[in-house]
C-alpha cells in the first residue's frame, strides 16, 4: 500500500517536474536558513553565519542532481530538461546552429537524393520473383569481332525463334526461359497513334510472375507462327485510350491495320523492358499477324531464370552448345549476363563516379560541422569547468552535451530529409531519357539512415569532446582553460583548411575537367546547320505503302503540302535524321573492291530533294543531281577516302543491292549520330531517283517560326493525305542536338552542383573558423597593438596561417587528383584527364577562395580597438 503510494509519488514527480523543482529549492533553502539561525544562536555574525551555513551545505548542485536523478522521474525529467537546455543553447547561438544545421542538412540531403537515384538505376533489385537469378541471354558471332560496326554487336545478337524453341526444349540450367522483342506499330481506329509494342513468348509471363489487372496474359497456344492476334494492353494505355473501361476485354485494337483482340490488362507497375525509357503500350504474341519467325530473324532478346545453384558459366556453355547445333565451334556462342547488369549497362560507371562525388560532399559537410562545433569548444569547456566546480557529476554533463548534439543532429536530419525529398524529383526530371528505372526512384531508406548516422556521430563526438577533454582536468585549473583552447584552435585552423582543400581540389578538378570537355563538345561543328530548322518523323505502315510508287508519291505530295504552310521556307527529308535516329548502315560494293574481300559497312541515307541545301551540308566536289532522275549517289569525304584513297571519287561507281550507281558528288562529313562520335563514311541516295526506299522519313523544315506555330499546319497536311498515319510532334533540330548531349550535360551538371555546394560549404567553414579564432584572440591582438604591433602584421599572420593550410591541402589534393582523374577519361572528349591548365586553374581558384574566406574575418583582427579591449579587462 505504502509502496504503491511511493510509486504514485514518482509518477506525479515525473509528470510535474516544475513543481518538484520548486519544492526541492524551497526545502534546501529552508535547510540553509535553519543552519544560519543556529549559527547565529551560537554567536556568529549574521553574514558569517549564512556563509558558514552555505559552506557546510556544500555542493548543492550535486545533490540537486542526485535528487533529480532518483526514480522514474530521473530518466524522463532529465531527458526533457536536457533537451530544453539544448534548444536554449541552440537559440542563444543562432548563427552557429544555423550553420551546423544548414551544412549537415545540405550534406545529408544531397547525398541521399543522389544515392537514391543511383540506387534505383543501378543497384535496386529487379521487381520480379528471384530477380537476382534473371539472366539476359544473347547469341555471339565470334567472326564479327573487331569488324567495323558489326564488331560493336558481336556479343549481343538476338535469338531467332527456332533457336529459342531448341533452347527451351533442351536446356537444363534454367527454371524457365523466354524471349521478347520490341517494335513500334501504329494504332488506328480513332486517333492514329504510334505505340510501343512488346512481343513476348507465353513463358515470359510465368517467368516474370505477372498477374494481370484484368483478363489473362498469353498461353502456349499463342506461341509460334500463326498465333491468334491477341493483345495485352498496359495499364496506362487502358486508362488513356480506353478510358479505363472494364469492357475492354474482348474488344479490339488495330495495330498496323490488323485487328487484335484484347485479352488482358497489365498491372500499373509492370514496366518490363521499359527500364530505359518507355515500357510497351501493348504486348502481342511473338508470331502474331504473320510477324516473321524465321531462322534469320534474330530479333529476340533472351531471358531466363537460373536454377538455384547453377553457375552462370555452365549455363552459358550449355546455351552455346544448343544454339550452335552442328555448326563449327567458333561460329556461334552464347553470352549470358545478369539481367540487371544488362539493363543498366553503360549507365553504371558514371553513376558510381557521381556517388564518389557525393561521398566527398558528405565528408566536407562533416569536416565543416566538426570545425564549427569545435570552434565553440571554449564556451563548452568553460561551462564544463564551472559546473564541475559546482559539483555537477560528469555523467550529468555528458548527458547534457549528448542532448545538445542530438538536438542539432535532429534538426539537421529534418533539413536533410526535406532537401532529399525536394531534390529527388529535380534529379529525375533532369535525368537523360536513357537513365534506367528513373520512374522507380524514391528516398532510399538505407542511405538516409547512413547519412543521418554520420551526422549524428559527428555532432555527438564534437559536442561531447569538451566533457571528455576536461575529464582529465581538475576543476581548479578552470581559469586556464580559455588560453589552452585558443592555442589548440590556432593549431587546428590550418589543419582544418588543409583537409577541406584536399577534398575540394579533387572535386573541383573533376568538375572543371567535365565542364571544359562539355564546352568543347558543344563547340564541335557537326557539319550541318541546325538554325531555324524544325523536324518531325513520318512512318508509313508497311502493308499499305509496300509498293514503291505509293510511298514515293506520298512523300512527294507531303513535301508539297508542308511546303505550302505559311512561314515554311523549305522542306526536305532523310531516312535517318541527325541526333535522334541512330545508325542505318548497309554493306556496299564498289569499283576496285577485290573479289574475295568483304564489302565495307557504310551509313546509308535516303533523302528527299533539297537535303543538302536545307541542312547546309557542303558539296565539295561535283554536283548533286538527284533531281535529274539518273542513278547517282553523293558520298561523304570520309567514304571517298576509305574506298578510293588518294583518288578522285566523282565518276566512280558503287553497287547497292546489285544495282550500280555513279558517284556524282562528294559532300562534307557530318556528325549526325552523336557530336562526340567521329563522322562515319556515308552515302546519300534519292528516294525518288534510286531503287532504295524507306517507309520512314524525318522531315526537315526551314522556318523562322517556332515549332508550335508550324505543328498544326503539319498535322493538317498529314491528315489531308492519309488520316491513319500517326502525327509525331514537331521539334527544333537544335533541341535534338542538345538532347543528344543530355547524358554529358547531366553528368556535368551534377558534378558542378557538388563542386559548387562543396566550395560554398568550405568557404563558409573557413570563414566561420577564422572569425571565431580572431574573436577569441581579440585580447591578445589588443595587447599586441598596444605594444606597437602593426595592424598589417596581425592581418598577415592570420591569413598566413590559412595560406599555409590551403597550400598544403591543395598540394595533396593535386596529387590525389593526379591519381584519380584518369577514371574520368571515358567521359572526357578530346581532353587529357590530367590536363595541366585545368589542374592549375582549379588549384589557383581554391587558394584564392580560401584566402578570401579567411581575409574578411582577419581584417577584424587588425581593427581591434585597444582602448575597448583594455576596458573589458
Amino acid at each position: 500500500m505504502d509502496r504503491l503510494k511511493g510509486w504514485m509519488k514518482q509518477l506525479r514527480a515525473a509528470l510535474r517536474p516544475g513543481r518538484v523543482e520548486r519544492e526541492m529549492d524551497e526545502e534546501l533553502r529552508f535547510h540553509v536558513d535553519q543552519e544560519t539561525t543556529r549559527n547565529v544562536a551560537l554567536g556568529m555574525a549574521p553574514a558569517e553565519a549564512r556563509r558558514a551555513a552555505l559552506v557546510s551545505f556544500g555542493a548543492a548542485e550535486r545533490f540537486k542532481d542526485e535528487l533529480r536523478g532518483a526514480g522514474l522521474r530521473g530518466l524522463l525529467g532529465d531527458a526533457a530538461r536536457d533537451l530544453r537546455h539544448a534548444v536554449r543553447t541552440m537559440r542563444r547561438r543562432p548563427t552557429l546552429s544555423a550553420a551546423v544545421i544548414g551544412t549537415l542538412g545540405l550534406g545529408i540531403g544531397v547525398s541521399t537524393a543522389m544515392y537514391s537515384v543511383v540506387y534505383a538505376a543501378v543497384l535496386q533489385p529487379l521487381p520480379y520473383p528471384h530477380g537476382d537469378r534473371l539472366v539476359a541471354v544473347w547469341e555471339t558471332y565470334p567472326g564479327w569481332r573487331g569488324r567495323p560496326v558489326l564488331g560493336d554487336f558481336w556479343d549481343r545478337i538476338g535469338l531467332a525463334w527456332p533457336d529459342y524453341e531448341q533452347w527451351r526444349g533442351r536446356q537444363q540450367s534454367f527454371d524457365e526461359v523466354a524471349v521478347f522483342a520490341r517494335a513500334q506499330m501504329t494504332a488506328s481506329g480513332g486517333e492514329a497513334e504510334r505505340l510501343e509494342v512488346g512481343r513476348g513468348s507465353a513463358s515470359l509471363w510465368t517467368l516474370l510472375g505477372v498477374t494481370p489487372a484484368l483478363g489473362r496474359t498469353f498461353a502456349e497456344v499463342d506461341d509460334g507462327a500463326g498465333a491468334p492476334p491477341v493483345a495485352v494492353v498496359s495499364h496506362a494505355l487502358w486508362q488513356g485510350r480506353f478510358g479505363g473501361d472494364a469492357g475492354v476485354i474482348g474488344g479490339t485494337i488495330a495495330l498496323d491495320d490488323q485487328p487484335f483482340s484484347i485479352v488482358g490488362v497489365l498491372a500499373p507497375d509492370f514496366r518490363f523492358s521499359g527500364e530505359r525509357g518507355a515500357p510497351p503500350d501493348v504486348w502481342i504474341p511473338v508470331g502474331a499477324a504473320g510477324l516473321p519467325l524465321g531462322p534469320d530473324n534474330h530479333h529476340f532478346s533472351g531471358i531466363g531464370r537460373l536454377r538455384a545453384g547453377t553457375r552462370l558459366e555452365s549455363a552459358a556453355e550449355e546455351s552455346a552448345t544448343i544454339f550452335r547445333g552442328d555448326r563449327p565451334a567458333n561460329a556461334l556462342g552464347a553470352a549470358l549476363r545478369p539481367y540487371q547488369e544488362d539493363v543498366v549497362g553503360s549507365a553504371r560507371p558514371p553513376l558510381v563516379l557521381l556517388l564518389a562525388g557525393t561521398g566527398v560532399l558528405l565528408l566536407i559537410a562533416c569536416v565543416n560541422v566538426a570545425a564549427l562545433i569545435a570552434s565553440d569548444t571554449a564556451r563548452r569547456e568553460r561551462e564544463v569547468a564551472t559546473r564541475l566546480a559546482l559539483g555537477a557529476s560528469r555523467a550529468r554533463l555528458l548527458r547534457q552535451f549528448l542532448a545538445e548534439g542530438l538536438a542539432l543532429a535532429l534538426a539537421a536530419a529534418l533539413a536533410g530529409v526535406a532537401t532529399a525529398s525536394q531534390g529527388i524529383p529535380l534529379l529525375t526530371a533532369l535525368a537523360p531519357p536513357d537513365l534506367p528505372r528513373m520512374r522507380e526512384v524514391g528516398v532510399n531508406g538505407g542511405v538516409l539512415a547512413f547519412a543521418l548516422a554520420a551526422a549524428l556521430v559527428v555532432t555527438l563526438v564534437c559536442t561531447m569532446s569538451a566533457v571528455i577533454v576536461s575529464g582529465s582536468r581538475r576543476p581548479a585549473t578552470e581559469g586556464k582553460a580559455p588560453r589552452r583552447v585558443t592555442a589548440r584552435g590556432r593549431r587546428a585552423q590550418p589543419v582544418f583548411v588543409a583537409v577541406q582543400m584536399v577534398l575540394l581540389t579533387v572535386l573541383l578538378t573533376a568538375a572543371a575537367l567535365l565542364s571544359r570537355s562539355l564546352l568543347g563538345v558543344r563547340a564541335i561543328d557537326p557539319g550541318f546547320s541546325t538554325a531555324h530548322l524544325l523536324t518531325t518523323v513520318v512512318d508509313l505502315p508497311a502493308p499499305r505503302y509496300e509498293a514503291r510508287g505509293q510511298l514515293v508519291d506520298y512523300y512527294q505530295r507531303l513535301v508539297e503540302r508542308v511546303g505550302a504552310i505559311p512561314g515554311v521556307e523549305a522542306v526536305t527529308g532523310v531516312s535517318t535524321g541527325p541526333f535522334a535516329d541512330g545508325s542505318e548502315s548497309t554493306s556496299v560494293g564498289y569499283e576496285g573492291l577485290p573479289e574475295e574481300a568483304a564489302k565495307p559497312e557504310l551509313q546509308r541515307r535516303v533523302v528527299l530533294p533539297g537535303y543538302f541545301d536545307v541542312t547546309g551540308i557542303r558539296v565539295i566536289e561535283g554536283a548533286v543531281s538527284f533531281d535529274g532522275g539518273g542513278r547517282t549517289v553523293a558520298v561523304s569525304q570520309r567514304m571517298a577516302e576509305r574506298l578510293w584513297p588518294g583518288q578522285r571519287a566523282v565518276g566512280r561507281r558503287i553497287s547497292l543491292r546489285d544495282q550500280w550507281y555513279d558517284v556524282a558528288a562528294v559532300v562534307g562529313d557530318v556528325r549526325d549520330q552523336a557530336l562526340t562520335a567521329a563522322p562515319e563514311g556515308t552515302y546519300y541516295v534519292s528516294l525518288q531517283a534510286s531503287r532504295e526506299t524507306s517507309p520512314r522519313m524525318r522531315l526537315i523544315l526551314r522556318s523562322p517560326l517556332d515549332e508550335a506555330q508550324v505543328a498544326s499546319g503539319v498535322r493538317d497536311a498529314m491528315r489531308s493525305l492519309d488520316a491513319s498515319i500517326p502525327v509525331e510532334p514537331v521539334e527544333r533540330l537544335d533541341a535534338l542536338a542538345a538532347r543528344s548531349l543530355a547524358a554529358e550535360r547531366y553528368r556535368t551538371l551534377l558534378v558542378d552542383v557538388f563542386a559548387g555546394a562543396s566550395l560554398v560549404l568550405a568557404a563558409a567553414g573557413i570563414f566561420g573558423v577564422t572569425l571565431r579564432l580572431v574573436l577569441r584572440r581579440r585580447r591578445e591582438f589588443g595587447v599586441r597593438l598596444a605594444l606597437g604591433a602593426r595592424p598589417a602584421g596581425l592581418l598577415a599572420s592570420t591569413i598566413g596561417r590559412t595560406a599555409g593550410g590551403a597550400a598544403a591541402g591543395v598540394s595533396v589534393g593535386l596529387l590525389a587528383a593526379w591519381a584519380l582523374m584518369p577514371a574520368l577519361s571515358p567521359y572526357l572528349h578530346e581532353m587529357p584527364a590530367r590536363d595541366p591548365t585545368t589542374f592549375v586553374a582549379s588549384a589557383a581558384a581554391l587558394v584564392v577562395v580560401s584566402l578570401a574566406a579567411a581575409a574578411i574575418p582577419a581584417r577584424r583582427a587588425a581593427r581591434v580597438d585597444v582602448a575597448e579591449i583594455l576596458r573589458d579587462e
Binding site: 505504502d2 503510494k5 529552508f30 543552519e35 543556529r38 535528487l67 526514480g71
Partner: protein, 113 residues
Amino acid sequence: MPIPHSSDVLRGTLDLLILQSLAHEPLHGWSIGQRIQAASRDALQVGQGSLYPALQRLEHRGWIDSEWRTTAENRRARYYRLTASGRRALERQITHWRAYVEAVELVLAVGRP
C-alpha cells in the same frame, strides 16, 4: 573512547538512523540531521548531500511520507513521517543491526582475554 571527529554515517545505516529519528514524531530534513547528531552526542554527522537523497529514496520506497507544514517560526517546511510499512522496516532493520553488531563483537572477542 570518543568516535573520531565528524565521522560520516556508515553506509547502509543512514536509512536506519533516519527511520529511527522519525519513530516518535514527524520532522523536517534539517531537524532529522540535528536529531541524529544530538542523539549520537555529535559523533555522527549526516551530510546534507546524503540526507536529502536518502529521504527521497525512502519516500519512493513508501517507508516515509512527507507533507508541507508550518514550523513554530511560521515557515513552510517539509515534514517527514514514518508510514506503517516504514515502521515495520525499522523493526526489521534494528533486528538486523543488532545481529550484525553482535556478530562483529564475537569476531573481535576471539583471542582476547
